[in-house]
């Protein structure tokens, strides 16, 4: 049984949840959670994303939008070092999490992922009971106390707006839930370890509109406690939930076929959608492209 690595640089604790929820961006901007400077990401010899620079702020929902292949998911997955699982993946440039270099020597990916959680496009509950799904994270963090686990499971399921629907069947398989419920279970599972940041890769794209609405409500509620970054194909969704939006596009290299993603514009959501600076952003959000 392993403890959290001692050799890991001490990643700072998140701000307490007692901060008031922020509804507009014209108040003081929160602490910078991610500071990305000139980051390019490679898969082997293929440059997936080039020269991205942006800053993610605390307790905001940031949306990454853009057409397929523009690198949104690649950048998202680099925040919790999921790209490490792809052989040949490489990150150039500076990527800092709360002031610490995310890809520096001495940083353990597993420790990173305990602070930065992820919800995937297609709900992926484990073939275990609902209870064991939610308790999985706390358990691998060393939590053994049954009472504490019960409390964590209930809290997480409540926060994920799933408790009432499953409280009487916590021992049934996670696979028996509908798509929307399964995704909320995955969200509960992710927040059970009380991460600092929650990354969401098109969390509602596999769900019907009603389930999607529930997920979006959830996001707004979670914002007060977590920093959320969401990749979405749905522009209306971005306008509904996000505070800031980053628009990615594809750069085609002259005559070669390679498509490299590039960050075109990043700013408050209202500004991106109503008054974009870059013509490519304008074209995308008005539906003329991608």
């Amino acid at each position: 049984m392993e403890e959290p690595q001692q050799t890991v640089t001490n990643l700072p604790r998140p701000a307490s949840a007692s901060q008031p929820p922020r509804t507009q961006l014209d108040g003081p901007v929160g602490e910078t959670i991610f500071d990305v400077r000139n980051v390019s990401i490679w898969y082997g010899a293929f440059k997936a994303v080039t020269d991205v620079s942006l800053a993610i702020h605390e307790n905001e929902i940031t949306a990454f939008i853009g057409s397929s292949g523009s690198g949104k998911t690649t950048v998202l997955r680099s925040f919790n070092r999921m790209n490490d699982l792809v052989p040949g993946a490489r990150v150039d440039g500076e990527m800092n999490y709360r002031g610490q270099a995310l890809y520096g020597g001495g940083v353990s990916p597993t420790a990173v992922r305990r602070r930065i959680g992820m919800v995937f496009q297609k709900p992926n509950p484990f073939p275990k009971s609902i209870y064991d799904n939610v308790a999985y994270g706390p358990r691998i963090n060393g939590e053994r106390n049954k009472a504490k686990l019960n409390e964590i499971v209930e809290r997480s399921l409540r926060q994920a707006a799933l408790w009432d629907e499953v409280k009487n069947r916590l021992n049934t398989s996670g696979l028996s839930l509908s798509g929307g419920q399964a995704q909320r279970l995955c969200i509960a599972r992710t927040i059970a370890v009380e991460p600092d940041v929650v990354l969401m890769d098109e969390p509602a794209s596999a769900l019907d509109p009603i389930a999607t609405g529930k997920i979006e409500d959830l996001m707004r509620e979670l914002k007060s406690q977590y920093t959320i970054i969401i990749v979405t194909h749905n522009m209306q969704q971005a306008t509904r939930v996000s505070d800031r939006t980053a628009f990615f596009s594809v750069l085609t290299e002259g005559d070669s076929d390679t498509r490299t993603g590039v960050l075109v514009e990043y700013g408050p959501t209202e500004q991106i959608f109503q008054d974009p600076t870059d013509p490519r952003t304008q074209a995308y959000v008005t539906g003329r492209m991608g």
Binding site: E2, L85, N124, I140, T190, V193
Partner: protein, 298 residues
């Protein structure tokens, strides 16, 4: 002219010409025949074993000591052989199954498409084709020559036989576990070992158990590896599988089959029925496990 044949072709919706149809029919009949050709001897064997064996089977038969071959059918039984089979196969299983699962984990989770992993996978498949007698001669040369005959040696030989089979079937089951499950676990901050043991393996467990049961059934029926490792020839049970010669059902059947005495032969049929029943039960349990517990292999 062209118009005529055009008319003919359009109107000709009958079956293809007689000889084409005939050949097709004959082919179908031959295919069905090949299945029948297989059912008949299978039926004969099973019916014979049941007919000749059932009359001698009883609790006392399954537990009594082995009598001298010349004694008639109602004397003694095959107790030592039953015990031997259980001891030796259990030992072999305990050794081969965990190692086989670990080997499959290496191949699927760590080795990926690397050269070493593909080489080992290839060797493992080739090893499934090594005749069981070779495993017996191997353990004889490696172990029995130095440490003597024992149930343990027999278990080593059977284990070598089971290992590549368990590796292959477990590998196939691990492959079927969707990658999104692994990603979900990694995203929660689990290490690779944790992901493998707490998410991947449980997800594949049904199929792995089922595949292992089939390997056990095959090992239980093997004779050749045991000839060179446990010696046989016992009359009373050896409860210590780690030392001293031992016997097992297949070995007993082998020796009884070459006996001219009807008593020994009758005991041989009884042992054969017992052996087939064991293999059959294991096979059925394996299918039940697959049907009920194996989520991804359907």
């Amino acid at each position: 002219m062209a118009a005529d044949t055009g008319q003919q072709r359009k109107a000709d919706l009958r079956e293809p010409a007689g000889w084409r149809r005939a050949k097709n029919r004959i082919a179908t009949i031959l295919m069905v025949l090949s299945f029948v050709v297989v059912i008949i001897p299978l039926g004969f064997v099973l019916v014979t074993v049941v007919a000749k064996g059932a009359s001698i089977i009883s609790w006392s038969f399954l537990t009594s000591s082995i009598p001298p071959a010349v004694l008639p059918a109602n004397f003694g039984g095959i107790g030592p052989a039953v015990l031997g089979t259980i001891e030796i196969v259990a030992l072999a299983t305990v050794m081969a199954v965990p190692l086989g699962i670990l080997g499959a984990i290496y191949l699927n989770e760590y080795g990926g498409n690397g050269l070493l992993a593909r080489f080992i996978g290839f060797l493992s498949d080739v090893m499934t084709g090594v005749p069981s007698i070779i495993m017996g001669l191997f353990i004889y040369s490696l172990w029995v020559v130095h440490f003597g005959y024992s149930g343990l040696a027999g278990a080593f030989a059977l284990g070598c036989l089971m290992l590549p089979v368990v590796i292959r079937s477990s590998y196939e089951m691990l492959r079927l576990v969707p990658n999104t499950l692994r990603e979900g676990a990694y995203a929660l901050g689990a290490t690779k070992a944790r992901v493998t043991m707490t998410v991947v393996l449980p997800a594949a467990l049904g199929g792995i158990v089922s595949g292992s049961l089939l390997a056990v059934a095959r090992a239980a029926g093997e004779t050749a590896p045991l000839i060179f490792t446990i010696l046989g020839g016992l009359l009373s049970a050896n409860t210590n599988p780690f030392s001293g010669a031992n016997t097992a059902l297949p070995l007993q059947i082998f020796s009884n089959a070459s006996q001219p005495y009807t008593g020994a032969q009758a005991r041989g049929w009884g042992a054969a029925l017992t052996l087939i029943a064991i293999a059959f039960i294991l096979m059925i349990v394996a299918r039940i496990v697959t049907a009920r517990f194996s989520r991804y292999s359907r």
